[in-house]
C-alpha cells in the first residue's frame, strides 16, 4: 500500500534521508521512531507530496507520488505534527472544505460531518471559528477531516500530541479499527508506549538512515539487550544507553 524505494533527501550538503526502502502493507500499523532531527518529518513530507525527494520514489496505493500526485494524494490522509487550520472557518466548514477537496459527495458529508464531530466530542464547537479551538481540538478536527474521505493510507506525524487521555484512547481504537478494515497506517511518534502497543512493525531511524526495522521481537534480537521493552531497545539501538553520562551536566 505504501512503498518507499531508495528514498533520499538532501538539503545542500546535508543528507536528511538516505536510501530509505520500506513497504507498509494494507492493514498494517507501522511505527516510525527516531531521535529529534533523525529525518522522520522529512520522510513524512516526502511521502505526502509536501517535499520533493532528491532520490528514489514514493508509491501510494500503487501510484507514484511524483508522476501522479493527484491520484496518490486522493488515496492518502495526512495528520501533520502541527494541526494548523484556517482560523476563520468553523469546525463544520473545515470538514466541508476538506470533503470538497477530496471529492466526498454532499449527501455523505451531510451525514458524516455531524457524526465525526460527535465522535470527537466537538459538536458544541462545530459552529465556532477555529481560532477559538485549543491545540487538542484542532488535532481531533484534522483527524476527523482524514476520516471523512476514508483514505486507504494514513500518514500521521505525532498524532497523540495535545490529546486528552480519553481522546487519546479513542484515537488509538480508531487506528486499530481502520487497520482491521485494511487501511495502511504509517505513524511517527516519540511515545514508545504507543508504538509498542499499537504497531505491528517498528522502524528506527538515525541520521537519515533506517538502522533497524521489524517486529518487537526482531528489534530485540537486533539490539542484543536483555530488556524486552521498546524503551530499552530504542536506547540500545540509538546509542542512548550512555545517556546517563549526560546527566553530569545537570
Amino acid at each position: 500500500m505504501i512503498r518507499l524505494e531508495g528514498l533520499g533527501k538532501s538539503f545542500g550538503s546535508h543528507q536528511a534521508v538516505v536510501d530509505l526502502h520500506l513497504e507498509v502493507k494494507p492493514g498494517e500499523i507501522f511505527g516510525f521512531l527516531g531521535p529529534n532531527g533523525a529525518g522522520k518529518t522529512t520522510t513524512v513530507k516526502m511521502m505526502t507530496g509536501l517535499l520533493k525527494p532528491t532520490a528514489g520514489r514514493v508509491l501510494v496505493a500503487g501510484r507514484d507520488m511524483a508522476a501522479d500526485p493527484i491520484a496518490a494524494k486522493r488515496a492518502m490522509g495526512l495528520g501533520p505534527d502541527e494541526p494548523f487550520v484556517y482560523p476563520k472557518l468553523t469546525g463544520a466548514e473545515y470538514l466541508r472544505f476538506v470533503g470538497e477537496l477530496y471529492g466526498v459527495p454532499l449527501a455523505d458529508m451531510k451525514k458524516r460531518v455531524p457524526e465525526l464531530l460527535e465522535m470527537f466530542e466537538l459538536t458544541p464547537w462545530g459552529g465556532e471559528l477555529l481560532e477559538s479551538y485549543s491545540h487538542g481540538m484542532r488535532q481531533k478536527l484534522v483527524l476527523g477531516g482524514i476520516l471523512l474521505h476514508d483514505p486507504k493510507v494514513l500518514v500521521l506525524d505525532e498524532p497523540m500530541v495535545g490529546l486528552d487521555p480519553k481522546s487519546g484512547r479513542l484515537v488509538k481504537d480508531i487506528f486499530i479499527r481502520l487497520a482491521e478494515r485494511g487501511t495502511a497506517i504509517f505513524m511517527c511518534t516519540h511515545v514508545l508506549e504507543i508504538a509498542e502497543k499499537l504497531c505491528h512493525r517498528i522502524g528506527i531511524m538515525i541520521g537519515g538512515k533506517m538502522i533497524a526495522c521489524g517486529t518487537l521481537d526482531e528489534l530485540h534480537a537486533q539490539s542484543k539487550k536483555e530488556g524486552r521493552d521498546l524503551e530499552s531497545i530504542f536506547l540500545s539501538l540509538t546509542g542512548g544507553a550512555e545517556y546517563s553520562t549526560l546527566l553530569k551536566y545537570l
Partner: protein
C-alpha cells in the same frame, strides 16, 4: 533587557545572510540591482521636476521647499496608515510573543521591541523613496554630503513618530475594547472615519492653492508658498530641518533635528510607560477567539452554482469566507472605495479646457489607474499565496494541482480589481467626454492591465512564497513584493509607450497634421500583444514551478 531582544534580531539577520546559497546570492544581487535601478529612475524623475521648478523665476526655491513639505506630509500619512495595519499583528499576534511573555522579560521591553519592529515594517519602504528625492535636491542645489548626513540624522525620528500613531491607537484600542466583537466594530468605524476624513480633505480641493490662477491675488499665492504645511506635524519639522540645512543654517537644523529626536523619545517613553500598565490586558483579550456560532447548512455552495462541482468552487468559497470574516480586510475595502471616489473627483477637477487635452488625459489615465491597480495588486493579489500560511499543508497534501490553487487566487482577485479598473476607466472617459477611439483604447488597455496585474500578482506571489509570515506588510515589503511592484510599473510604462503610437496618429488625423499608418498601428498592436503574452505567462510559469518545488 531590551539588548538581548535586539541582539536576536541582529543574529537572525546575519544568520539569514550567512546561510544564503550561491543561487540566493545571485538572485538577491539581481533583485537588489533592479531595486537600485528603480530608485535611480525615481531619482531621475525627481531631478527633472526639481530642475524645472528651480527655473521658475523668483519663487523657484519656494516651490521646491513647498513640494518637499507636501512630500513629507504624504510620507507621514502613508506611514500612519501603514502602522495602523502592522501594529495589530506585530504587537498582539506575533508567533514569538508566547515565548517572550513566558520569559522573565519586562512587558515594557517586549512592547518596545515589538513596536520598533512594527515601525520598521510600516516605514522602511516609504522612507527609502525619500532618498532619491533628497539626492535630487542635492544635485539641483549643488549641496554636499553634509546635507545627506543632515537628512539621515533627521529622518529616523520622523518615521518613528509617524509610526507611533498606529502603535498608540492599537495599544489603546485593544485595552479599551478587549471583547473581540466590540473591537472589530471600533476598528471598522475607525477605518470609516479615516476614509471620510481622507475624502473630506480631498473634496476641499487643496490643489487650487497650488494653482496661482485659482487665487485672486499673487500675494495670496506667495503667502501659501511661505506658509507652513501642517506645522504641528513632524513632517513640517523635517521639511524645515532640510530647508535650513540646505541654506547652511546648521543651528536651525540642529534645533529641528533635536526636536524630532526629543519628541520621538518622549512619545515612545510615554507609550512604553503606558504599555507597562495596559499592554498585557490587550494581549490577553487578543488571545480570546471570537465565539460567534455559525451553523453550516450543507447546501450547494454559491460558487458551485457558478463554477459547478469541483475543487475550484470549494477553493473560491474558502477564500471568500475567510477573507470577509477578517475585519482587517473591511477597513481596507472602505479605504479603497474612498480612494476610487477621490480619484474620480480629482479627474473631474483637472483644469482641462480643450477636447483634445481631455482625450489625452483619458489615455494617460491608463498609466495613473495602472499605478493604483498595481498598488492594489501588491496589497491583495501578491500576498494571496503566502497568506495560506501554515495551513498550506491542507492544500499541498490534498489531491489538487498547484495550478488550480493559483487559478482560484487569480479569479478571486481579478473580480474586484477588474471591477475597479472598469469603474475608473468608464467613469474617467465619461467625465472627460473622451472621443470614441481614445475611450475604447484606454478601456481595453486598462482591462488588460488589470488582468495582467492579477496574473503577475499570483505568479510573483507563487515565485516568492513565505508561509511563515505573520504580518501582511512583511509580504508586501519583501524582495518579491518589490520585484512585483517594479514589474507592474515597468509593464504599465511599456503599455503606455506602445499604445502612444496609435494615439499620436489619432491626434495627427484630428489636427490634420498627418495620416493614419496601418503598418505602424499593426506594429504597435503586435508590441502590445507581446508585452501581454510575457506579462501573463512568464511570472505565472515561473511561480507555478517554484511553488511545486517549494520546500
Amino acid at each position: 533587557m531590551l539588548a538581548p531582544l535586539l541582539r536576536r534580531r541582529a543574529l537572525t539577520f546575519t544568520n539569514t545572510i550567512g546561510h544564503w546559497t550561491g543561487y540566493e546570492w545571485v538572485r538577491n544581487a539581481a533583485f537588489g540591482s533592479a531595486g537600485f535601478g528603480l530608485l535611480f529612475g525615481l531619482h531621475y524623475g525627481f531631478y527633472r521636476l526639481l530642475k524645472y521648478l528651480a527655473t521658475v523665476e523668483l519663487i523657484g526655491v519656494l516651490l521646491t521647499w513647498k513640494l518637499t513639505a507636501m512630500l513629507m506630509l504624504m510620507t507621514f500619512s502613508m506611514v500612519v496608515v501603514s502602522s495602523l495595519l502592522t501594529a495589530l499583528t506585530t504587537l498582539f499576534y506575533s508567533y514569538d510573543l508566547k515565548f517572550l511573555l513566558k520569559a522573565p522579560v519586562s512587558l515594557r521591553s517586549i512592547f518596545l521591541d515589538k513596536s520598533l519592529e512594527s515601525a520598521f515594517f510600516a516605514s522602511w519602504m516609504i522612507g527609502l523613496i525619500l532618498v532619491p528625492y533628497v539626492a535630487a535636491i542635492m544635485r539641483v542645489q549643488h549641496l554636499g554630503g553634509a546635507f545627506l548626513a543632515a537628512f539621515l540624522v533627521a529622518v529616523p525620528p520622523f518615521l518613528l513618530l509617524s509610526a507611533s500613531f498606529g502603535i498608540g491607537f492599537t495599544l489603546l484600542l485593544l485595552y479599551l475594547f478587549p471583547s473581540s466583537r466590540t473591537r472589530d466594530v471600533v476598528w471598522v468605524f475607525s477605518s470609516l472615519s479615516l476614509t471620510v476624513v481622507y475624502g473630506m480633505v480631498r473634496f476641499a480641493s487643496p490643489e487650487k492653492l497650488v494653482r496661482p490662477d485659482a487665487l485672486k491675488l499673487v500675494a495670496e499665492y506667495l503667502n501659501f508658498l511661505q506658509a507652513p504645511t501642517a506645522p504641528y506635524l513632524p513632517s513640517w519639522w523635517l521639511a524645515e530641518a532640510l530647508r535650513l540645512a540646505a541654506a547652511g543654517n546648521w543651528s536651525g537644523w540642529a534645533v529641528r533635528a533635536a526636536g524630532l529626536w526629543g519628541t520621538a523619545f518622549v512619545v515612545y517613553g510615554l507609550l512604553v510607560a503606558l504599555a507597562g500598565k495596559i499592554y498585557f490586558i490587550g494581549y490577553s483579550g487578543a488571545q480570546e477567539g471570537a465565539l460567534r456560532r455559525r451553523e453550516h447548512g450543507f447546501k450547494a455552495l454559491p460558487e458551485q452554482r457558478l463554477l459547478g462541482i469541483g475543487t475550484g468552487a470549494a477553493l473560491l468559497w474558502k477564500e471568500r469566507t475567510t477573507f470577509f470574516r477578517d475585519v482587517k480586510h473591511w477597513s481596507q475595502i472602505l479605504l479603497i472605495i474612498g480612494l476610487v471616489f477621490v480619484y474620480l473627483f480629482s479627474i473631474r477637477r483637472l483644469p482641462l479646457d480643450s477636447a483634445e487635452l481631455r482625450s489625452l488625459v483619458s489615455f494617460l489615465n491608463v498609466g495613473t489607474a495602472g499605478f493604483v491597480l498595481s498598488a492594489l495588486g501588491l496589497r491583495f493579489t501578491f500576498p494571496a499565496i503566502s497568506l495560506e500560511g501554515r495551513s498550506w499543508w491542507v492544500l499541498r497534501s490534498a489531491p489538487i494541482d498547484v495550478g488550480g490553487v493559483m487559478r482560484e487566487k487569480f479569479l478571486f482577485s481579478a473580480i474586484p480589481i477588474l471591477l475597479i479598473a472598469v469603474t475608473l476607466s468608464l467613469m474617467t472617459n465619461w467625465i472627460l467626454d473622451a472621443d470614441r477611439f481614445t475611450a475604447w483604447l484606454s478601456f481595453g488597455a486598462l482591462v488588460t492591465v488589470a488582468l495582467a496585474i492579477c496574473s503577475m500578482g499570483v505568479g510573483f506571489g507563487a515565485l516568492f512564497p513565505n508561509f511563515q509570515v505573520e504580518n501582511i506588510h512583511q509580504i508586501e515589503s519583501s524582495v518579491g513584493g518589490f520585484v512585483f511592484m517594479a514589474a507592474c510599473l515597468f509593464y504599465v510604462g511599456l503599455t503606455i509607450a506602445v499604445l502612444a503610437t496609435p494615439m499620436q496618429m489619432h491626434f495627427a488625423v484630428r489636427f490634420g497634421t498627418g495620416a493614419w499608418n496601418d503598418r505602424l498601428a499593426a506594429y504597435s498592436a503586435a508590441g502590445w500583444l507581446a508585452i501581454n503574452v510575457l506579462a501573463f505567462t512568464v511570472p505565472w510559469r515561473l511561480g507555478r514551478a517554484a511553488l511545486e518545488n517549494h520546500e
